[in-house]
Amino acid sequence: MQPNPSGPARLRSGLILYPSQNHAIDVALSELIEQLPARYVLLTDVSGQVIISRGHHTGLDPVPLASLVAGDLAANQEIARLLGEYRPSQLTLREGDTAHTFTVEAGAYLALLVQIDSHVPLGWARIMVLQCAQKLAQIVETPPPETQHRSSTSDSAEHRLLTGGDDLSDLFGNALDELWNQS
């Protein structure tokens, strides 16, 4: 597979994040948390897989939350399309008593949830969340330094991890056997 110069590092329909992108995402979300300020931030890919969560939410498991964020985003996008009012980066807002929650798509591959205290001005928060979403989209859509000096992704150690040596299918089968027979 050749690196995609115009899009994020992708394997077929999926998304691959390299350490430099991870770091850039971490920095962008840390800045958002500090500047807003935000209580809690969750970044997922659009199929609902957790990329990162930051902030405090006692007892909250980000994994099921991420699946709901992705479902919520997909449903909202479809509603907007059916109503003829879809455009990229549309925000949805849920107002609460002590906190408000934004969800927004961050480019074609990511979904972002941001929770803020109810005393944070909504207009300010809206601008900051949108800016952050754009920054995140740019991070994953720009080829990372790790891939820029390779003639193809098949040169990478990561790639060899997926393709080389043992038969991964069998290894996954064994791992599932072990999981199933644990209880």
Partner: protein, 222 residues
């Protein structure tokens, strides 16, 4: 699929698709009940008041380290009722693999076919074909009187090109075999697409498990 090389995580999305009441949610419930709590997430179910799937069910499984990677399987179901067409399509988006759960009730042949064609149409809209996505067919409710024999119905329904697994999900029979078969097919697909063209194709012919049939013959083990 989402890969995070820093965390060495490989995330895969598998969708259980099929007609209403065919047992998609039951499959996930049985997996949830069997797998130790520290290796799975909570089971999320978005249901109607009548206990029918409204949007999706979701369950994440975490496998042990493989080649230094921590694989995570994200299992989703779609709502089966015809009414929820739009939701079904959304859940199917970006799936790495699909389990088609057919209802073995002889009265539901048409529902199975309609759901299958519906799935095919959605995949096509996403630019995916049945040939390129990892797919496993489960004939569930094999305990019903006069249950559809996959050896007969899989070819009739055009499903004989895929691994077919007999199941009684409510008794957990065939549930794990289905999960294992689809996971292995997804991984074979990942390898095929990651490999220089042609190098892995010969290694990854359709799978044979104790419950499925060699794909080309339509035979099933009892």
């Amino acid at each position: 699929m989402y890969i995070n090389w820093q965390l060495r995580e490989l995330n895969l999305k598998i969708v259980y698709y099929g007609p209403a009441l065919s047992g998609k949610t039951t499959n996930l419930e049985q997996i949830y009940n069997r797998v130790p709590a520290d290796r799975r997430s909570e089971l999320i179910s978005l249901k109607t008041h009548e206990d029918r799937t409204l949007f999706f069910d979701f369950l994440q499984l975490e496998l042990g380290k493989i080649n230094g990677l921590t694989p995570k399987l994200h299992l989703y179901t779609v709502p089966g009722q015809t009414y929820y067409e739009a939701s079904r399509k959304l859940v199917l988006r970006r799936a790495d693999g699909v389990v088609f759960v057919a209802d073995s009730d002889p009265a539901r042949v048409r529902d199975n076919l309609e759901s299958w064609r519906n799935m095919q149409a959605h995949l096509k809209e996403f630019g995916t074909s049945l040939d390129s996505i990892a797919l496993v067919v489960q004939f569930n409710k094999q305990d019903l009187p006069g249950a559809l024999a996959p050896t007969v119905y899989a070819p009739l329904m055009g499903l004989h090109h895929y691994p077919v697994i007999k199941a009684i999900a409510i008794q957990r029979i065939g549930v794990f075999e289905t999960l294992k078969a689809i996971t292995q097919r997804v991984i074979a697909n990942v390898q095929r697409h990651a490999a220089p063209s042609g190098t892995l194709d010969q290694k990854h012919q359709p799978l044979e498990t104790p419950y499925n049939t060699p794909a080309r013959t339509g035979r099933m083990q009892p």
